[in-house]
Symmetry: C3
Subunit: 137 residues, 3 copies
């Protein structure tokens, strides 16, 4: 069982492809013939998901959609001390999830042709983000 932490640099609010960074952080992946890899984010206002890895407009549409679906400044929010983007960030993080799990086959992540790992940064200024990558097989 291999485990590695990875600190991602601060990114702008939005959805960002991090597949290559994740793979490079755990070189032992290529020693696993059949296995599993989990990527976990240690935060509650950023999240991880798997989606389309090619067209950058998909990631822009993700940001547009989730910012409409989880509005800022709802007068019903009670938790608003840290700014208008804070409570929506917690809600989006729960909807998208704090981890992704990907099978390993022949030393590689068995992602489909169009799948990539997204960091979903829900804060305006989220800062660096810590991941823990664990693989076994």
């Amino acid at each position: 069982m291999y485990q590695q932490s990875l600190q991602l640099k601060a990114r702008s609010r939005g959805f960002h492809l991090i597949t290559t960074e994740v793979i490079q952080a755990l070189p032992q992946l290529n020693q696993i013939r059949v296995g599993m890899c989990q990527v976990f984010i240690q935060h509650t206002s950023a999240s991880l998901t798997i989606n389309e890895n090619a067209d950058p407009t998909v990631r822009k549409d993700f940001e547009m959609y989730f910012s409409k679906a989880v509005p800022e400044n709802d007068p019903d929010y009670l938790h608003d001390d840290e700014g208008a983007d804070d409570m929506p960030a917690h809600l989006k993080a729960a909807m998208l999830g704090s981890s992704v799990m990907i099978p390993i086959l022949n030393g590689r992540l068995a992602l489909g042709m169009w799948q990539g790992i997204y960091l979903c940064e829900h804060r305006n200024y989220g800062g660096t983000r810590n991941l823990i990558i664990t693989a076994w097989g």
Copy 2:
């Protein structure tokens, strides 16, 4: 660690129970006393979730709800080359997730009495869908 790919036949847009197909695809499940099973979908416009396994109207209501919550033809979408159902499919897939994880107990998936595995087909004509089933214990 057992791993098996499974190609699901093309299904109509909507939510479909696939529990039996998943179990039949990995007969080694019944050799695992205590373990874990992951089912992963290698696509970005279909997804997997666990929900009610008995009343077909639940699955119809899932399709109704998610199609309202993630509308087609939002003029703000930038990614629309593949049709009105394309970008909503990516968003729904992220909300529901690309994998499910189920504990194994005494050679069986430890699902609750009312739980089944859903294939969530978000495209009008999604075609066949590839799963990877991995179990260990």
Copy 3:
């Protein structure tokens, strides 16, 4: 591989921190240096997620938001025999998910400083809820 079931007492509709209960239910956690823990809920109208562990207003805002985003009494629901809170509970459960997966490092769950495990009770009277906790490493 350690596995333990845990019956949670009935809780009110809303979001509840259960991190301590989960950890106490599996004392073998502290024997695992590098590993993984999954918590699975055997129900389709309650769910699990990871989010902010400090300010109780965050959990109140979760209940407020999800009850707005998944309305009761939509006349388009077909599945409504069990009351107005039933079909919304299934939908919320799918959006939030039936399991959480947390890495283990040095005998402890490697949660971020602000992360806790939530039981998301979507029914008005959901009753007790069964979890299965599995850890390995």
